[in-house]
């Protein structure tokens, strides 16, 4: 493949956000008719790189050439014009418009200056068929579709623009196994049609199946580029994190004998998303929730936290049945529950408000006397938390939105720790934060467990589940399909059960390709 003239080349691209270096003299070469995988930890610069390619952000320095000519893109529209189309993670669909409207949005067919609805319908149907998603009705509103269908619409929308370079950024993360297989067929066909595909994924098995060429990013630089299959998974992981992987997790204390069960669920069901779930978490235990994204893990945590209505089954705290009617009820009194939400920007923080205010929100009732906040007590508790979590901030009175992603996440966690919760629910807390902060969070989690907290931890990152959890429950389609204990928690077992493949022999590769 080195013989072919490159279709697209990026050289010496740098980008800084404030004081943070997102990309540092990064290079990338893309050839037509190939699938190029980009690997790297979150925060390694992958997403900035594709944003530069797709015209979303302008680089501080460096050059891009397309067909040997230097190009620069002022907007996503300009990049589209040049044939570079990016599929973001359901970022670019407009919820109130129909599927067909969305598919043709950047260049709708026109007759007499008005949008030609018949032609639009035809284009949409073609594109959906090409993406292998003819089951989606072109008139349906995007907001009414489940996540996996929306992602298919994203793919159809990209194909309708007739791209030369197609970028897929975690495009399969929300898809069901059957959809993944369909999308892979489509991608392979596109490759044979001569498109250049850039594929970004955290799933090593997907990359092994698809990619022709791989480039690994770390700390904003491309650190290695190699033909697919020439390095072992372990070598690749070491390239990604730049050190041996096992060291970033704290040691597990091993099975504890006489701990009491704090949180228990019996036959929990809700709508068509949770299906007869029973589980228990003991004091001092970290229990993981695994499986593909969107199999009911988030709903399960919300169910415990009193957000869902019409729940059937029982929730028991300390062995006694309780009914939890709201997050306020869940966090107060003898229940003492905390939920670290998945999207810190909308569910965890009030971004324009100060670090101090954000830290105090969940504990205001404990810090006030007769409705008046005791400033001194608040300050003491906040100082404790900032120290405990090593939150790096220029002061307590700056907007929390000005902090880095990792420190924002620490604020979300600290805010709940101020209540000294006994039960801690974590919903993918390390998404989008750097490895260093992740490591601190793993250690904190273990420290809290050692101090007697019961922890239920959902993560989309298998390595985290392997490194942190005493037990892992794998969910599939709203039900617990498998429980893995201690040494049984391996990547192989996690993936196999996430895809709901029975039997020990089924490897992840066959699983995805099937």
């Amino acid at each position: 493949m080195d013989g072919a003239a490159p279709l697209f080349r990026m050289e010496g691209i740098s980008k800084r956000y404030g004081g943070v270096r997102a990309l540092e003299k990064a290079d990338l070469t893309v050839t037509a008719g190939g699938i190029h995988a980009i690997l790297g930890e979150n925060g390694a610069g992958k997403s900035t790189l594709i944003k530069v390619m797709a015209g979303v952000v302008a680089p501080d320095e460096g050059t891009m050439t397309l067909d040997g000519r230097e190009v620069s893109f002022a907007s996503p529209a300009a990049a589209n014009q040049a044939g570079i189309v990016c599929i973001f993670q359901e970022l670019s669909l407009i919820p109130e418009l129909s599927v067909a409207d969305n598919i043709v949005i950047s260049d709708p067919p026109k007759r007499f200056g008005m949008i030609d609805r018949k032609a639009q319908r035809r284009i949409a149907e073609e594109a959906l068929a090409r993406a292998g998603a003819s089951d989606i009705h072109p008139c349906a509103l995007v907001k009414d579709l489940p996540l996996s269908r929306r992602q298919m619409v994203e793919i159809a929308k990209a194909l309708a623009r007739k791209p030369r370079i197609l970028i897929l950024d975690e495009a399969t993360s929300a898809l069901t196994a059957a959809d993944v297989a369909k999308v892979f067929e489509v991608l392979k066909r596109l490759r044979s049609e001569g498109l250049a595909l850039l594929y970004i994924s955290h799933r090593m098995n997907e990359i092994a199946e698809l990619a022709d060429h791989c480039t690994v990013f770390r700390n904003g630089r491309n650190v290695a580029s190699y033909p697919a299959g020439s390095k072992s998974d372990n070598e690749v992981v070491e390239l990604m994190i730049g050190r041996e992987y096992s060291h970033i997790f704290p040691p597990k204390p091993g099975p504890t004998a006489a701990a009491t069960t704090v949180l228990e669920a019996r036959n929990l069901s809700w709508a068509d998303r949770l299906d007869n779930i029973s589980l228990s978490v003991k004091a001092g235990e970290v229990v993981g929730l695994g499986g593909l994204d969107g199999q009911g893990q988030r709903e399960l945590l919300l169910a415990f936290f009193g957000v869902l209505r019409g729940l059937s089954g029982e929730i028991l705290i300390d062995g006694k049945p309780v009914s939890i009617a709201s997050p306020t009820a869940a966090s107060h009194g003898r229940i003492g529950m905390a939920l670290i939400p998945e999207d810190r920007k909308t569910e965890g923080l009030m971004l324009p408000m100060t670090v101090r205010e954000n830290l105090s929100f969940a504990a205001l009732d404990r810090l006030s006397k007769g409705g008046i906040i005791d400033r001194a007590a608040e300050q003491r508790l906040i100082d404790d938390m900032v120290g405990l979590l090593a939150i790096k901030t220029a002061g307590l009175d700056i907007p929390v939105g000005a902090l880095s992603g990792g420190n924002q996440q620490k604020v979300v966690i600290a805010k709940w720790l101020m209540r000294q919760p006994r039960i801690i629910l974590l919903n993918d807390p390390t998404r989008g934060i750097d490895v260093g902060t992740k490591q601190e969070l793993y250690q904190l989690m273990r420290k809290l467990a050692d101090a007697g907290a019961a922890i239920l931890f959902y993560s989309t990152d298998y390595d985290e589940l392997i490194g942190c959890c005493d037990r892992v429950l794998v969910l599939y389609d709203g039900a617990v399909k498998r429980e893995l204990v201690g040494a049984e928690i391996t990547e192989h077992a996690l993936i196999a059960s996430a895809l709901n493949i029975h039997g020990e022999g089924a490897g992840p590769k066959q699983g995805v390709g099937a």
Binding site: E96, S98, I105, K157, L302, L308, R309
Partner: protein, 326 residues
Amino acid sequence: MKDWRYWLAEQRGTLLAFGIFIVMFAIYSGNHPAGFTANVVQTAANKGVLLAFVAMAQTLVVITAGIDLSVGMIFTLTNCMASWLVIGTGLETAFGVLAVLGTGLVCGAVNGAIVIYGRLQPIVATIATGAVFFGLALLLRPVPGGSVNEDLADFLTGRFFGVVPASLVALLVIVLVVWVPFSRSEFGRAAYAAGSSETAAYMSGVPIRRGKFLAYTLAGLLAAIGGLFLTFFTYTGEAAYASGNAYTLFSIAAVVLGGVSLFGGKGSAIGAIFGALAFRTIGDLLFVFDFDPLWQPLFQGVILLIAVSLGAFALFRVRNRLEWFL
């Protein structure tokens, strides 16, 4: 699902507004001393159409997730202008009409430019421009007065073939000439897209700015058409502060009644028109029941609350409490 079901779901707000209007108007005309006659319909149409134009204007801006608190003042300003200019020979009158409509376009364009290119919040920007527009109106008409080409006025406020109110026909023509092309154009879709999710629209390469600018500009035009009709009905111009503000607020109520989401991206001007007609009918209901007019605002408010609540029933079916906040 079949196509028509999707169509029905999309038109739900408009149909609901239509239903509310029909019920209200049936009660109104059923209890009117004169009954359901061409005269009653003509009077009701002439009153309703004014608010309908202003509500259409408001719809265009609300679709982009903005709000235009100056529509009522553009309506007042153009009324004052028309009372000077829409007079004289046919040619002079035509020139006057064009000047009035042009003024509306300019007012709307100013709003759009400030909101889009000046990046000010629509609420604040249009409160300020609304005050400016009212100030201009006051300079034009310090005291109520002026006149209008009465032939044209009588033609557009009378009846065609003895039964069809001319103002309703005019409203229909404006819908066909302004709203339908806008909503089906690329820019109209850009306005919807920007209102629904501006980030997603930007990422998709949608011409957001031009779409929003066009929406604000056409809103000015529609408010000016409303102002023109006000002059046709009253034969005079008046810089009435209270009336201008009332039209602004009523237009927002009409838009919500018409199923247009204040969060943007959803709804149609047709719905807003029925919302406006329904709102006007609610206001007039008391008169046919012979109540003391003192009760009118209170009664109107209560009926409005009930009507708007119809749209909120869906919240009772929500099973994930987080969806309350979406």
